[in-house]
Every structure is written in C-alpha cells, then in structure tokens.
Amino acid sequence: MKITIQTDETQTEIAVDIRCPGLTPELEKVISLLRTLDMKLTGQKERSTYILDVSQVLYIDSADKKTFLYTENEVYESDLRLYELEEQLARADFIRAGKSSIVNLRRIMSLRSEIDGRIRVTMSNGEKLVVSRQYAGILKQRLGVK
C-alpha cells in the first residue's frame, strides 16, 4: 500500500483520497475509522452501506464477534470492533455500559439505580438497557453523583 501525504497551507479542511482497484474488508474498516473522526459511523444493512451521524446512534453492542449500531428504529452492522468504537466515540459522550455494550449519554431519557448496584437506563426510543455494576461508577462520575 502506498501512502502519500501532501501538505498545502491553502487547504481549509483535511481531504483523504483513497485510490484502489476495489473495496476490501480491510479498506472498509479504514474508511469506517476515518469517518468516526468526522463523527460519522458506517453501518451495513441489507447489503447497503449507510453513513450515520453519531448522534443518531443510541447504543452499540457486540455479539458473536459482530458489532451492531442501534438507532431509534433501525439496527446496522459495523465493521469496527467495540473497543475501536469506544476509543473513537469517547469524545462524543459514549460510555461503556457492560462488557459488550456502549451507550450514547446524549440519548438517555431516564435512569434508575437498582439495589444490586446496576443502573437501568431508558433510551430515547423507550428501549431499556442495563449498566453493569462494574461500569455504573463511571456513569455516576459522569453525572457528578460520585
């Protein structure tokens, strides 16, 4: 793979050109990672690729080595792993809810602490998620409770 970097002071924004004979899964992953820098996520659904704004995503979870993005009414599959998304989306107010999920703080409608230490979260579409005891402390810190 040949990487060319051109610096030009007259440019007002960063532009990334990819020249390739065809898209490969690795390349799609690179593109997905690049999009997260622009607060966009790439999701696949029924053999089509969609560009989603990060704010559209309510939460992300992984199952069977696949990562899924959940919006208000749709579910998309992502090329990226959960830890990769977690790293990229930390500045977009996503936090870990469990070993296999991260939630968008901006899309939480309400939350409720359980006696066993977990936090039950209701998302803006009414879906309910559980923040495990292991990660409940981080959420409380973000909310200024701890």
């Binding site: 309400s110 939350l111 066993d116 230490g117 977990r118 990660y135 402390g137 909310l143 200024g144 409770v145």
Partner: protein, 165 residues
Amino acid sequence: MMEEKKNIFSFIGEAFCTYSIAVIILTITAAVTGDEAGEISTLFRLGSQGIPLSALVQFLAVAFLTTGLRYLFSMDWMVKRVPPLLRVLFMCVLIVACIVLFTNLFGWFPADMWEPWAAFAACFLLCFAGGTVTMIVKTRLENRQMAEGLRRLKESMGKEEKDEV
C-alpha cells in the same frame, strides 16, 4: 477506567467495622446488665467489669464470617445468576446459621431458653430492617441525584452544541 473493585483491604476494613460496632453494643450491654446476664451467658461471665478475651476473639471470627458471606453474595457471578430476593434470603439464613453455631459452640446463651433467642431474633430483624430501609433511602437519593446530573449534563451538551454553531 472501571469502578474500584473490592479487595482484601476493603474486606478487612468492613469486617473490623462490624466487629467494632458489635463490641460497642456488647460493652454497653455488659455495663448495664452484665452482672445478671453473667449467670447464664459466657459473653458476660466477667459481669459489668468487661468482655472476656475469648468472647472478643469469637466476635472477631463472626465479624469476618458474616462479612465474608456479604462479599460472597455481592460477587458479580452471584448477582448475575441469583435473583436479589433469593440472594438476601440465602445470606440471612447463612448468617443466622453462623450465629446459631457460635451460640451452641461457645455457650453465648442457653439454647433451651426462648427469651435470649427472642432477643436475638428481635435484634437481627431490627438491624436487617434498618439496613434495608437505609439502602432504599440511599438508592432513592441516588436516583434523584442521577436524574439531576443527567439534566445538567444534557443542558451543558446543548450549550456546547450551540457554541459550536
């Protein structure tokens, strides 16, 4: 960054906390009714003069055992597999069994007298009810604080978005 996990030092700290509360209650009881209770209980055989060393060691063992049980029932794998009500029930049964065992082993009070058992049951229920009420109040307070925190966070996020525009 994860929530701070409980370790051996927090376990020892909590066990000693339970132990110190028990010893304070025992000392007050000994000072008030030690002379009469000394006739039937090994815990007060020194009367109002103080608590025997053997009783202090036995109470230390109970404190470590009960704290161990609390830790066991709050472990992640236990929380995931056993429903909360069942966990509390199992924990109470094991703690009571532990006290009954110590009572019989060390003659804390005569096992054939109903009055000490009634007093023990009353104390246990009172402590359990107190603990439960405290936990419910704490959870409610935390819920209110979290709702307020979420409102503040959303306000600040909204402000940031406006600033960016």
